[in-house]
Symmetry: D2
Subunit: 360 residues, 4 copies
């Protein structure tokens, strides 16, 4: 089994379903198989930044119930870029060396970082600056990370958005309404197009495809002329106005004064049609809750594989799901390939093939 | 079996889960047992108001898949009080005689009206004016109708709100946030307090109990001082500002410019605490979707019992759930007894007993 | 708040969803409000029988995640009647005094016993013999306990059985099959009739109603003649053969050599019809899993109310759900009133009204 | 759009979740985009065998609610190989020419066959013999078909089995029991290993890996010595006895007299350990019910792509899911590559990495 290692694990960026399942898998493999020590770093890089570093020693008992638990027991924050960290006194400081110092202070042989593209880019920069042994695990409900077919949290988020559409379908039909569902996804439309197809949406608007309100209204009319007096619209949070102006997101900031893109669409559709509209902003329920079986499976496979990479001394790699197998790729490659919805890919073709209006 | 009757059925007011299950039960009993004719009136009283009246003939085949279907195949509207009906030319007219005429034009022996307190009051007024044989079935996600332990749609709505809390719990804990969930319920707090208890909320605000923001913030502090850096707040849509001013509802109008009570609370809590907050407005997904088994059971029992009342010639009655049995009560009694959350009842006692902050 | 008490809590008999939610509510109330000590007795009365007694000290932290957790963290057993306890040496002994001694050894002021009719009868006998201060909370998926509209665990079990019927419906229709679902319920048909109505069964067989296979086959034929080449049958585990002979239960014993009543029916139906049949024995998944919101709410209300009874010094009482309120009744009354399915009650009427075959 | 075609679609073999979603997608594309005629062939090849052929004309209205409906509205049967078809008079006949005649009698330009490996092999043989234009869509809950990452129905089946494990986990822990869950999967262990990992099983037995009871008991002991008095075992229906003898399956035949492999294991474990065991045979609920969002998405993508293959005149091809895209492969290739669980693949590695006992 080689020498006993001491590894850290942290969860960074927005939470999602499946993070705890990763933590469990890492501990099962590292402690159960290799008899290593695992330190759960609290609050992402902030746990390392603190003096003394904040962590939870993780053993098999501590992770016993984590497979089905949503979120992350380690906590996570979006408090800011450690290279330009907003201090409580209002100044901005480079805290990278503090983090690197924390890693060494804990005597870590390696660290597993679970994050999306932003977090992984920062972790990699820290690793290179401080010669830290980093292995990465992709997670993001947005599924916008390249080099892997899916990231942890995406399947669960799609399931939740689809279930919401299933519910809205009935109330839309009963009241002859146009129902607009605003979903998360940051700059990519993966949740919107996946849930939209799976949930039987009539219109799907994603940031990757510019749209015209007139096309949306035409679709509503076409359905009305077929005796279907209701329509379901899914819109991704980052979709802009028809003219390309950004709309303040309801979800992310929690500061919706003007309404998000869902409300914008509602107003526009009211103006150009005789339809009664209602908006639902799905919000943070997309992030939370028990992970789907697929997210649990992926999380378990990623966790085991990440520990094995450390056992083999392969660092600066990200585990990735490709063609039913976990493989590993350079972190640099994964974060270099931002993945938008492929305009020539299967999902867009399928949506068009089903007669779903994509706004263009 | 007596002579063959010809009965109508209509669904009135906001839709909810279980309406189709009632329609199915009515047809199973009226057609299957008594061999009557059942006419499904379209779009509530508007179907009777039209000339000719709009209806769907209902037989056993047509209702075969309705047990699990959300919403209502008959459609429903909230287009206005038929005694003061907003016409397309901008005028307001009393359309009550048109509705009564529609009932007679269809040759109905009786009509089953499914609705909440508002709808049932209107239906009863029409029945009295026109000598219509009316039997009522209570439905409302708000559960504010008196004389029955629960109305159709309430259990499903509570389930959905509880599931949302289950999800928010994990993301709140992961990010050390205060999560605010705004739920429906019109002027009553039944959904909020039921889902709040079932979903483990830390604070529940309902219209029946005036609150102070300071008490809410104190609860958040208390939890922080116990090491719990997150809190879940459920708020009913009709809760007012601390000073008792109404806040425009996000859900009902679909015209949220200023944000609803959820957003108001978020702003206030941000101001009086160091907590990061997020708001989720659950909206119309509470109305829709497959009904819960309890709603299906209640709907089935109500539908059968309503037909039996007609068979017995007992009109002006509402079926009601009391102590594990369906009984019937005068409609007048049910609509006279608006039911708010009982401040001395089990739910409020339970919430306080669990240490949940009710704001007072 | 009066003097600080020291109370025990135990879960007895078969497990079900909602037990942990009761434990949480008891601790929230007893510790959070009254500042008492709560001892969780392990493995039902066996924890008291042991020397020293086996228990877990329960505080607010320990119950933090118990609202949604299935089963019971205290454990439970069906190892036998303490008044005639099967010893490991093969003898049978009266262990009642050991249990009473355990209660006193722990210095308990009162004990909350969560159980069904069998367990509560034993607990009451112990309480009377040893002058123990007992408060009871009803739980049983079978819902056969009198004096309360429902017991903890029943709603969840009905939900699971209904969901199974929803699934079987589709596969039955696709393959033109008769699907038989055997559900739990011990000697009562509450789960079967509730889930059967909610899940759209065509035939429901319960122990309370003797049946004839010919009637079941007739129903299958009638449906076939209406073009419905499939049927769903729900049968309660304790249903006997047509001649009234008991069939060894598949569920309870785990020793099914001959097949349970589901298999018996399948053979009989094959013999008297041309239908292809399949049997599903739902088994222990009915007991487990996250409790339904209604079970969580009931569990929470019962837990708080039980502690309040102790605070008031009201012993030998069982908390009970009646007409939307928790009340308390003598334990003696509850266990004296075994509740079978009421043959003149709403559920039987509803089933017949929907055209469901009850076998008679 | 080219000339108007007339195509058939049939569902063959065991039903599963997602078949109706495929039918809907085919009609949306073929009728909605290309304005073709679509004939839904009833009861798989039996619909073509009949004289006249049995079919349902499918238009957009008919498929409106099929996205979320389980099973197949076309029906399916396993009545036998058409090349050696069991006749009602007890003889066996080659009915292949009848089927081919039915295809021509209906004037079909092409046919879409949805099936697993067995069905697709038969359909291909028919197509080659009769010069039929065949496009295939892979479906099987067993996921044993080569050349595609997943087939329709698999994800839903894994979800249901995982949910069952989630439930059994709680009741196992409460009663200190060993719970055995027997799942489907025919000769492959895909459902068992996927659900086993996702549902936190302690032991997973699949047909691909010979096992020893002693290893299973050792795992139970090891857990007991760590204070975990319960264990979860998942076993695939085709697992044999320790000595390699087949055990009559409970699921498939519906004729379980001796009990299936679940019961066999239960007896063996009882004999070699002090554990109390219970068996649940999940059965047909794995096939039925609303498809998961992933199955709906895959079904939609496959349906659209299959129609496009016909539009391009590409026959004898199967649509396939590979690396987030739908591609097409020769049917011959897909059915030649039976896929067992890969002993060196990610799932087996993950299971071992988590410390799950695979019996060897």
């Amino acid at each position: 089994m080689g020498e006993q290692k001491r590894i850290g694990i942290l969860t960074s960026g927005g939470d999602c379903a499946g993070l705890n399942a990763v933590i469990r898998a890492v501990v099962c493999r590292a402690v159960g198989t290799y008899d290593w020590k695992v330190l759960g770093i609290r609050q992402a890089t902030q746990g390392l930044m603190s003096d003394p570093p904040q962590f939870i020693p993780l053993d098999l008992d501590k992770v016993d119930n984590l497979l089905t638990a949503g979120g992350t027991v380690l906590g996570t924050t979006n408090k800011g870029d450690p290279f330009a960290f907003p201090m409580s006194d209002g100044t901005v400081r480079d805290r990278s060396e503090d983090i690197i110092a924390g890693y060494h202070q804990l005597g870590l042989d390696a660290i597993i970082g679970i994050g999306g593209d932003g977090s992984l880019a920062i972790l990699r920069k820290l690793a290179q600056q401080g010669n830290l042994n980093l292995v990465a695990i992709p997670k993001t409900i947005d599924n916008d990370l390249g080099s892997t077919e899916h990231s942890i949290g995406f399947d669960t988020a799609v399931n939740i958005a689809t279930e919401a559409l299933d519910r809205l379908h009935f109330t839309a039909a009963s009241h002859s309404r146009v129902m607009i569902l605003e979903v998360m996804g940051r700059d990519a439309g993966h949740i919107a197009i996946s849930a939209g197809i799976a949930g039987g949406a009539d219109v799907i608007l994603i940031p990757e495809i510019p749209y015209q309100i007139a096309n949306v209204c035409q679709k509503i009319y076409d359905r009305q002329s077929q005796g279907k007096n209701y329509s379901l619209i899914v819109v991704s949070e980052a979709v802009r106005t028809e003219e390309g102006e950004p709309v303040m997101s309801t979800n992310r900031l929690g500061q919706c004064r003007l309404g998000g893109i869902g409300q914008y669409l509602s107003d526009k559709i009211c103006a150009c049609s005789n339809a009664e509209t209602r908006v639902t902003v799905l919000g943070h329920i997309q992030r939370g809750g028990t992970p789907s079986p697929l997210d649990r499976l992926t999380a378990s496979a990623f966790g085991v594989a990440a520990v094995d990479l450390i056992a083999e001394g392969k660092y600066d790699r990200m585990v990735s799901w490709q063609n039913r197998q976990v493989v590993d790729v350079p972190i640099a490659e994964a974060i270099a390939q931002y993945r938008a919805v492929d305009l020539n890919g299967t999902l867009v073709k399928t949506a068009r093939g089903l007669g779903i209006c994509l706004g263009d």
